[in-house]
Point group: D2
Chain length 154, copies 4
């Protein structure tokens, strides 16, 4: 359970980031939930997202997971970027399926963090596992009077 | 140096796959070169491909690399899918940059293979490193009288 | 909850494998638990396991995790080998600490599987995250009248 | 080609680190070469290094690669630790084989770096591919009058 202010800040960060995330918007990715260190997003597979084997392109699945990761690691209002990520493709995503990606923090150090993302299909089957390494850089997503940018250790 | 028939087959496979790869087409990914176990593709970063931090979305970089990987592991005319992949983000991709992804085979077993992909920007800087694990399944991309589908061990 | 026969088989497989695992024995790795698709092993960090920075060598932590992974993916009595693995080092292992590695199956296909391993220190802190890709090959660890080697599809 | 002073410093760092690396010493790992951002080490597979399938334990192969990685990322005399690593197992290591691990820098930022390691067997076959993410922390391996510890930005 996060503090009410942190919960509000997480939503504010995610909404600001989502509004500017043109690549996620282009795929129709929806922001379902954002709490400190966690996020849940959804995307419906469309024909334009398929690859040469007629299933959802691995890059599109990765984009969904990577976007959920970005929300989970940025929603404490510290600009954080991906340093590396890996994905396991367990089952194909099919056209018409609404996929849900759930991201959560596994570890957080002073400047780095490890996040896991799981993608499930509408039957509740796990179709992809993602793990990302995040690296905090300077800057904030939204103005925050409680911990201004000048004090990144806050 | 590959055999002329293998070289022709690689191009035929890649062209067939690229024509059906709607996700790659949607990003304007271009097929530059395909030889057995290798491929080179390009993509120009557009504003619609950026993330909330105003650089190329990690998922779009991954999609470019993953597509190059798919060509390198499918262009011997055996349908091959990604089992897993990892990516290292070394530097951002900027709007207007034409990025080039080069994929090459590091190892190939009976049914599995490991492929590396490097993405460079127009200055020749390495901006991402990708490594993929491929798994051959049943089927061919294009009709091949030399080794019909019925003999997958060929 | 696994079937009593499967539970017995898991223990038999793990005991047979552990007895032959000279590298694990050399590190004093203990088998704590083995159930189908899961395993728990422990190891106490000794001075001879440290690296040039005086903490447990990353390779030794990996060996503990990899051993737990091997038990989780072999204890259904199908010889299974690691194709790939990744590890995140979250905190150092210190001399004298008894580390516990817990492995569990995330996905299992016909011949392949994905397994996660977590290593905790005595304070209950997560110090490493491991993810492995397994590949089943031909053969059994212990004689099994129920599904003899001649029928690997069983 | 590195500057003579940097070349000497790389060897001094590697020798100091190797002397203290008890885990590497216990496996008989030999330091063959260390130049800035690169290193080459060897290890002969012994029966005590095998796993339950009678080939070199994956953890021992990882330890060899991880040690080569540590030399490549520490030999500029900045204490650097592994944040994450992945390994692809391509072919088994056999008892009696002298394996050679070659590590090289793929990318180096202000505090982070990406390193690749390849392990070859005596026939020149590539048996494992490793990729590691390094993170520089405070401190030096050997006293260095040119850039004392007080100025880590040097």
């Amino acid at each position: 359970m996060s503090h009410p202010d942190e919960a509000r800040l997480a939503i504010a960060c995610s909404e600001a980031m989502h509004a500017r995330d043109d690549a996620a918007q282009a795929l129709g990715i929806e922001l379902l939930e954002s709490t400190p260190g966690r996020a849940r997003l959804a995307m419906t597979v469309e024909p334009r997202m398929t690859n040469g084997h007629d299933v959802c392109h691995g890059g599109v699945l990765f984009t969904l997971a990577d976007t959920a990761f970005a929300h989970a690691c940025n929603n404490r209002n510290r600009i954080t970027v991906a340093a590396a990520a890996s994905i396991q493709f367990l089952a194909p995503g099919r056209v018409g399926e609404r996929l849900v990606a759930t991201a959560f923090e596994r570890s957080r150090g002073k400047r780095t963090g490890v996040y896991d993302v799981e993608i499930h299909n509408p039957k509740g089957e796990l179709i992809a596992l993602f793990r990302g390494n995040a690296h905090q850089i300077r800057g904030q997503l939204v103005p925050d009077p409680e911990s201004p940018e000048g004090d990144p250790s806050a």
